[in-house]
């Protein structure tokens, strides 16, 4: 009887797998992805350029095209009359209220939304041309693109004008 008991005792031990190497691997991977990932990821503004016209179509568009002008100083005007964005100030710090205010162009968004509604009502796509001065800051062009995106317009004609 005593002999039998002695043999059974080691079999009753709990079987445990050693997971420490797996945890090591897991931590290594975690540290790798932590270092490789930057939390402030870049965003995007999608724009497509309208296909070139062969000139054969002489049809007048159903809705008058909208024109946005950006001067060298960064002043943005809508259809040559309404100023919708003041001159660009590169000294403003990102994240400050003044910087945010400069990025938002509510009156341009409103004008673009109206143009889009007009185009939608006659079942056509709105035509928008962006005329940027050669020396206009890229940030101001991105501001206009953001306004276009907010208004739901994703196709825009681009042109570069002289700085005058």
């Amino acid at each position: 009887m005593a002999r039998h008991k002695k043999i059974q005792a080691p079999e009753e031990e709990e079987m445990t797998s050693n997971i420490s190497s797996m945890i090591d691997c897991c931590f290594l991977l975690l540290i790798y992805f932590l270092v490789a990932t930057s939390l402030v990821s870049e965003k995007k503004l999608d724009i497509s350029i309208p296909p070139p016209s062969d000139g054969s179509s002489s049809k007048k568009p159903k809705v008058d095209p909208g024109n946005i002008y950006v001067t060298k100083a960064g002043v943005v005007t809508w259809n040559e009359g309404l100023t919708v964005g003041e001159a660009y100030d590169p000294s403003l710090e990102p994240g400050t209220p003044a910087y945010l205010q400069q990025r938002q162009m509510e009156s341009l968004v409103e004008s673009l939304k109206m143009l889009k509604d007009q185009a939608d009502s006659v079942d056509t796509t709105p035509v928008v041309m962006l005329h940027g001065a050669a020396g206009a800051p890229h940030q101001r062009i991105v501001d206009v693109m953001a306004a276009l995106s907010e208004a739901g317009i994703h196709s825009v004609g681009l042109s570069t004008t002289s700085d005058e």
Binding site: E42, S48, G95, L100, G132, A136, P137
Partner: protein, 176 residues
């Protein structure tokens, strides 16, 4: 005898329960794996990215041909001296467009090399099409410096259009 029993109870090993920590660790790992998948666009640190109030998430970088547009070195040095240092290390003076080849080597183009930029974009487009990327998914990812003049950005867009790429993605950072 009773004393012996008490001692044997004291000798029981105290083990820490590791399972919640492993669970947390796995969750974090998954979070970072998912986020890392977004960042497959090569980023040039010399570019001071513009900010936009309304921009969407960059979910899929597949099919993006990245072109960096640089500001003038004087503006670059005024804003970030390290950016200028990296620019000077990677590119020749006068470089306004920067791209990275398949081996992640930086290639710079100056104002008079628009045709070379077009050729580079054409090659990239053809390589992507050969890999099976749909033509509508091939896009120019324009990483323009906030202070770069528009003629440089529009030059890159013209080069892309000449290479048959008409979908443009403006790289930005969130304004808030």
């Amino acid at each position: 005898m009773a004393k012996k029993n008490a001692r044997s109870q004291e000798e029981v090993k105290s083990e820490m329960d590791m399972s919640p920590m492993i669970d947390c660790c796995f969750l974090l790992l998954m979070f970072f794996i998912v986020n890392a998948a977004q960042i497959t666009v090569s980023k040039d640190p010399s570019v001071n990215m513009p900010h936009a109030v309304s921009a969407s998430e960059m979910k899929d970088a597949n099919g993006c041909i990245v072109v960096n547009v640089f500001a003038d070195p004087e503006i670059m040095s005024a804003k970030n001296a390290k950016a200028l240092e990296k620019y000077n290390k990677a590119y020749a003076p006068g470089t306004i467009w920067g791209v990275a080849d398949a081996n992640q080597n930086s290639i710079g183009y100056n104002k008079s090399q628009a045709q070379e930029l077009t050729d580079f974009i054409t090659k990239q487009r053809e390589a992507m099409e050969a890999k099976g990327v749909k033509p509508e998914m091939i896009r120019l990812y324009l990483r323009g410096d906030a202070d770069a003049p528009w003629e440089r950005s529009s030059g890159a867009i013209r080069a892309a259009a000449a290479a048959g790429v008409t979908n443009i993605v403006f790289g930005t950072l969130p304004a808030e």
